[in-house]
Subunit: 244 residues, 2 copies
């Protein structure tokens, strides 16, 4: 199984203090763009892979989903998600995304926010997600952008004019990257843009939208520390549809 | 119209000395991968946008295409292409890719190698290419990778271990970039990966394959100077199909 960093006490404490953990979806600056990629969830059967504290599951319930299933590998996160309620519409399951087995043609939407870059055997998970979707169903996911996960040394540098630059290296060398983010030795899987896209196409999805998310100029005006994130997008958002 | 740098004497002289100009497709290290994305061209009607010296047009003819149309804005390049023959299968036209108007449902394959990053109004060209293809027809193109075209200062740097790094900046700021490559002031259009892909999807193409091309380890063994190109892929190859 993949490293379960969310049950590391130091990581969990740090993660719990992030704006997206405290304020939920409104604390995630990419949420408005990600939300715009979602189909209408009214009456839908929704699966959230890596549901964390359950913010999206609760949003989907409020937006009128008929059934929402949240899966996560972290006990810590699920305990908090369950405490927020949502039954009987929302059901939470503890599940390792490596080697997951899902019910066939059960969902209208499979969603995953910033979780898939932890998954080692992603192709198997994409196959399961495809199987679990009804024909025409939507897959909407976000991951760290491949430019983020690629470098041997992932730290801002600057060019001769003093502009921040992001030092891409090792881009074509896919595989694990060890980083120190909230805790030491967090392992993420680097994949190229092409690998993410081709994996979906090969498994029977049509790509419907690709977004290399960076903050808007309005967001930068409010949060000047976001500015460098326009030099190199931090997140990759993908929307795809199961070919009917 | 876009800058026609190929009819600049200094640029043309430099371009004419590149391996891909002297040896043709075999001098282009990405050709084996690009070729693998092509449909069978036997009996097909093929259009090459930015055909240059006509190497691909002649390849398509040899591979059995029924009709091959090569278009380029450069008189210099077309003169040389025509001198190599190929009539009546191959026909060359001088055409500016900005504001091009093509015949409807005429082609089985629209191909373009390293030309579209010079085109300012690419969306209009994609619309034309889509119109010009028969249903199920293929679009296979290569462009400079967006990581290549993005930076304000496009030059290798190195990380604390001495590994080459590519300093990405301005990635989300699309538009012209002035570079000195073979001649001073060559203007290329920077677009994100997302923009290329969404443009195709929105115009009615299904993405069938994405390749972020870098040299293979075998190619690096033969040409050690290629090694940094594995840190950051120089080319983006896209294959798409017109939805029938």
């Amino acid at each position: 199984m993949a490293q379960n960093i969310y049950d590391n006490a130091e990581f969990f404490a740090g993660y719990s203090r992030l704006p997206r953990s405290v304020q939920g979806l409104d604390g995630a600056p990419e949420w408005p763009v990600l939300r715009a990629l979602l189909p209408d969830v009214r009456g839908a059967n929704v699966l959230d892979l890596g549901c964390g504290f359950g913010w999206f599951c609760r949003w989907a319930k409020e937006a009128g989903a008929a059934q929402v299933t949240g899966m996560d590998v972290s006990e810590n996160m699920l305990a908090r998600a369950r405490a927020e309620g949502g039954a009987p519409v929302i059901t939470y399951f503890k599940a390792d995304m490596e080697g997951l087995s899902l019910r066939e043609a059960a969902f209208n939407l499979v969603y995953s926010s910033l979780a898939l870059h932890y998954v080692e055997k992603l192709d198997a998970l994409v196959r399961e997600a495809h199987k679990a979707l009804k024909g025409g169903g939507a897959l909407v996911v976000s991951v760290e952008h491949p430019m983020m996960t690629a470098p041997a040394h992932a730290a801002w540098s600057s060019d001769p004019d003093g502009r921040k630059t992001w030092p891409v290296s090792c881009y074509l060398e896919e595989g694990p990257r060890k980083t120190d983010w909230l805790a030491k030795g967090v392992i993420k899987q680097h994949r190229t843009m092409a690998t993410y896209l081709n994996m979906l196409v090969r498994r029977g999805f049509d790509i419907t939208h690709v977004e290399e998310w960076g903050p808007t100029l309005e967001q930068v005006a409010e949060r000047p520390d976001f500015a460098p994130e326009r030099e190199r997008p931090p997140f990759l958002l993908l929307a795809a549809r199961k070919r009917a």
